[in-house]
Symmetry: C2
Subunit: 531 residues, 2 copies
Amino acid sequence: MSAPGLTGACFVDGKVMQGGGATFQATDPSNGGTIGPAFADATMAVVARACEAAAAAEDEYAATSKTQRAQFLRRIASELDGLGDELLTRCHRETALPMARIASERARTKFQLECFANAVEEGSWVDARIDRADPKRQPLPKPDLRAMLAAIGPVAVFGASNFPLAYSVAGGDTASALAAGCPVVVKAHPMHPGTSELVASAILAAARACQLPLGVFSMVHGKSHEVGRALVESSAINAVGFTGSQKGGAALCRIAAARERPIPVFAEMGSVNPVFVLPLAMAQRGPAIAQAIVNSALLACGQFCTSPGMTLFCDGPDAEPFVRTLVAGVASSAPGTLVHPDICANYERAQREIAAVPGVSLLAESSGPAACEATGGRARLFVVDAESVLRTPSLREEIYGPASLLVRCKNAAAMQRVAESMSGHLTATVHGDDGDLREHAGLLRALRKCVGRIVHNGVPTGVEVCAAMQHGGPWPASSDSRFTAVGLRAMLRWARSVAWQDAPQAALPPELADGNPLGIWRTIDGLLGRA
Amino acid sequence: MSAPGLTGACFVDGKVMQGGGATFQATDPSNGGTIGPAFADATMAVVARACEAAAAAEDEYAATSKTQRAQFLRRIASELDGLGDELLTRCHRETALPMARIASERARTKFQLECFANAVEEGSWVDARIDRADPKRQPLPKPDLRAMLAAIGPVAVFGASNFPLAYSVAGGDTASALAAGCPVVVKAHPMHPGTSELVASAILAAARACQLPLGVFSMVHGKSHEVGRALVESSAINAVGFTGSQKGGAALCRIAAARERPIPVFAEMGSVNPVFVLPLAMAQRGPAIAQAIVNSALLACGQFCTSPGMTLFCDGPDAEPFVRTLVAGVASSAPGTLVHPDICANYERAQREIAAVPGVSLLAESSGPAACEATGGRARLFVVDAESVLRTPSLREEIYGPASLLVRCKNAAAMQRVAESMSGHLTATVHGDDGDLREHAGLLRALRKCVGRIVHNGVPTGVEVCAAMQHGGPWPASSDSRFTAVGLRAMLRWARSVAWQDAPQAALPPELADGNPLGIWRTIDGLLGRA
């Protein structure tokens, strides 16, 4: 069944342009069938045109006022609304995510656009700094220096499979890059091409309504990796945003580093998101913690970057009700539906590998039939001891999907050793009371070194969009731990500092002009203020 | 002649440790001879011990208070003073830089340490952000989120040949990393190993005086590239600071990207630093501008990252007095002394290549004999037309040393085309009056895209250490244009954001605690303040 409104084309420089490459169709995860229309990969020529259009729009878009840019972001949000149920329905068909989840994801996508619009409008994100001249300084006069963050130019964004709205075509990467003043070329994720087309049409409608140069946004289809490669290799592109697998993110990093002019790749590659249940908390509320973990791990069939994939606890009688609750929660769950058969195949393969590791046992799995065998995401709970985890690096790697590994630790020292053996993660969660935290300060120190966000007595899923969010951790959670993919600091990925020395007022951007015409926070001679 | 106080050893974990590898001696650039003692490259085992010591010191050093860290930085400055003339004399012998320059470079090195001490002590650089909980939010309660920048752990620093104090062992990279809370392992530059040893001893004395874990600072010698490679490949190292050639910086970037856990390299690789003389300014004060350019280009025998290597102007009668002044300035200069025969050999080779490009002519060169043929840096002024520069990418590359390329442009459009053809530079300088700037807005737009700092009516040399300095530009000027190697923002290279969700007060660092015990600027629910 085809959707009559969809063209299957790319959107390049304001034009609907047939990709010209090999065609593919979206998959309906609920039955494994295909959904029309056919979408065509962009040829290299089409990718090049999108990048050239972005470069051609760069100066004009970077010169837009903060008001214009905020209007554009808000207009994108209202155009998304304008797509109405058509967007929700198509997205549901392409991903099998529940309608309620898709509606809330649309709300989040709009909220992100609004947050960045507010940040741009307020204006202080540019970190304006002014050091005034001192002509009398000895031995040499001091010049006037002024600096601010400025857009780095066209950015490539790769849509994510697990957030078809909030981390795809108009998602956080696109919104933050447009907010920073950078044109964007999106490579749509082939698992939701129709959703991508609808969203792209909304962004272009917004660009038209705001009278922006239409090269400010293009979207190409690319089921083939060659499309992504061409995008990252384009001399017009200055940075890359990616959310997806470690393999995919690492490949883009290598391509970007091998360019004649290397560019940064901000790849958010997911993580295990370990959960540590400390003894006092275990004794007091083990079953409640277990229930929270199960709920978090099964959310969206485990398709969250922050899904808790490993739970560590000290073995003993206190832990048995906790384990029983986990087992019951997983065993009573019905299989969910993963967004694509490929994701399901990877999930099943990763689990078979885990199950084959000596010392690993299966404790529980979802019961009942899957809606579709090819996409049925059967939750599974494995158990292993800490020593095996320390011996076997693969047990410390993410299984993408609703699987969870319980790690029985002889004692807190063993638990800490596992924490110290970990590579980077987006989050770690600690269930513990004040006494636990005092007792396990070493564990907290170890976690602080390997994660971006430490959650206390909660769950890692549910990533707030706010100034204090950090969604990014040391490799392999992210390619650059100094930045975040969610929250207001995400804009910093797309800007660099530019300084002006002894510039006349006419040559300065308003952010740095005398009298602070924009009324933003600025650091003048070391003092922050906005007078 | 040997210096009796010098050991030729590495400094590892507070111990004087013989490197154990191949030995080398410093060169006296004034006569091409060698200076004792022999210095030994670090073996792989010694590099590993330095990195392990840094990792062992990481937690304790990161946990130091801002006061302790500021004291450490200030103590390093006073220990440098304590080295007295011995440091200046040794540095002069190893580099042939004038004593006055070395004394001022020591002052700058101390000033940098003081600036970072002040920034650490003030404390707001950590960009603390707090988003408070809202338990009543629908549909889900909002958690409490708090984030700040935190040290990334041990950092490797490569000393630079051209700033034996200010960008070497205790230079800007080391000072900013120590300020951010990161242990440092320095690879000393083999062109000033004795200076490096003296400075390392001062840093260690400061670490002892401040009762810090001595792994906080180590220094290894490495004339062989294998030492640098081992340092960058060490699993204990989390980031790299480098100042030097494009070839060296690019090689380190490749090594770092190929690690199992890639790490960022902040390589500052120099640039051409083009100077644009616009018509009105030319007519009004061409000769004065020419004299300023000559003075800047010949400073320290052209051994500045920001040395102006290319000057563009519109041809015509107004330009002739300008050109005559440049020619006279270069022709009347005596050859300077480069810091090492290898630098001199590279300089001569690069010039021969430039001179061989069709259309390039030599206009002037230094007169008189060099103090030493092997290190004599003969200033040279070449001239070429804009079309040749557009045709020949090699003419747009840096010649490290006192050479300068004059580019005659038929008109302003040609000048802008050259600007648009440029890769990244640290600086661009514009000589122009208000009328010039109005007329040449396109040129200024082009420059803003390819440089880190735009200098108006001045010279690019003389890099201020302040909040608004940007010393870093698009590739190949720097490996990451979003950061700076000079100025307070240099600390941001060595920190990443860490967030705490619903953490009890006891688990929070003081920067994020309720009541703002440190009195720093924080963003609470979107509002900046320090109440």
